[in-house]
Symmetry: C2
Subunit: 230 residues, 2 copies
DNA sequence: TGGAGTTATAATGTCGACACTATAATGGAA
DNA sequence: TTCCATTATAGTGTCGACATTATAACTCCA
């Protein structure tokens, strides 16, 4: 599942960790609406835990960039904003570009095989027009390459911190928002560069891919706004 | 001062925040040695605060990547490792490269003036052989460009999270470790590209600069190890 | 003597209560 | 009626105590 793939906790042993995972899922899925203020007593009661544990969980959510806190005022779920989405794409372009470069240098043949398997799955799902699961396959693709970089800190910064935000936005934009065929093609190019161990080219292609996604998202958002205004 | 420049808290209003800043400084400066395990009761007593506040501060330190925690075992200050330092350089290359590109697009003329003032200061300190303060000027240079990107999340990820690590390592490598003249020259090249609003070139030059720093650090570390072994 | 099992100790996780702060509600004066 | 001051309320920050877990010390047996 797409949630567990980037999870930092194998099995949450402590209450605060369980709570953290619960809340994270609830936020990403939209059970807790974006921008909502968190009432510590209320939430603690509804989950049947103490405020202390809840506060610890909120602290972790803050690290994932899913909530913001102000002293003496409280925490609230992050909101949706187009400029922020663009910012995230810019960061992804830089970091995942580097990840692709390193992956070309460091991935094992076995890992590249698994990467090709993901492409195969993507192809199948496009042929069957399974729009809903194509987003999972897209995440799997990007995660595999990030993992392949073997740069542990880079992996953590992307998979743990930034990709929670990616999921947050993706979930709220999922309606007919994919450019699967084009993305699939770009994915293939990246993998072929990795297979040739051409790090420079892998980085260039990955950056192009993410930039294209960004431009597409921007266009769609502008169209949506225009539609709402008209 | 170099510490406050990237500080996320204007004035720490809460005990936990004050404690966080205190501990962060102590770790970066080496007052608390690298790799040391944290005893919550002990630290709380020595700072005269409750364990709750201390735990909150430790949580924040964990976000800054300065301590690591394991459930039911505890927290310890991060250790020093050459591979990790290389990882950080790789990430900086990607992210600061992007920052330089964006800075070329978004920096105001006034900000560029301030950038040139930093270069001027750097030049002066080289002429006066003030090795100790050249590291501060170097940090100021990089921070200014990162700020100039105007990408708020990028700024936060670099200045708040990654650069604490940079300081951590820098403080432990500071003995005769600078390549100031070369770095100064590379800084000038980056700024000239920004002045010309050439984002592509600014990114290339910044990446080159950071890669050169990385190679230099690696060489110095290998020499040090060889020296210790011989 | 060495090692496994057991006990003892210290540390972390969790909780409920109190203090202080911010916000909402209320009341009074212009 | 409107605005400001005051009070009331809810919420966050902080603390000390208890429960649970990991580690160290110890004992007993082979």
């Amino acid at each position: 599942m797409a949630f567990s793939s980037a999870c930092k906790l194998q099995d949450p042993v402590t209450i605060a960790d369980k709570l953290f995972l619960d809340l994270r899922r609830a936020i990403l899925v939209g059970e807790i609406p974006a921008g909502k203020k968190i009432s510590e007593p209320e939430l603690a009661a509804s989950y049947g835990v103490s405020r202390g544990s809840l506060r610890e969980a909120i602290g972790k959510l803050e690290n994932c960039n899913l909530v913001t806190r102000k002293p003496n005022i409280g925490a609230r779920i992050i909101g949706f904003s187009t400029p922020q989405l663009i910012e995230i794409y810019q960061i992804r372009e830089a970091m995942e570009g580097m990840a692709a470069r390193l992956a070309a240098e460091n991935m094992s043949e076995e890992e590249i095989d698994r990467l090709n398997a993901i492409l195969e799955r993507h192809k199948l799902e496009i042929e069957q027009h399974q729009g809903y699961s194509q987003e999972d396959v897209d995440l799997d693709f990007h995660f595999s390459i990030i993992q392949g970089s073997k740069n542990i800190r880079l992996i953590r910064m992307l998979c743990q911190d930034l990709y929670d935000l990616v999921r947050f936005y993706r979930f709220r934009l999922k309606s007919g928002f994919h450019r699967s065929e084009q993305a699939f093609h770009e994915h293939n190019l990246v993998v072929s560069a990795i297979e040739r161990r051409d790090g420079e080219m892998a980085e260039t292609l990955m950056r192009h891919h993410i930039r294209a996604s960004r431009d597409y998202a921007r266009k769609m958002l502008e169209a949506t706004v225009a539609q709402n205004e008209g």
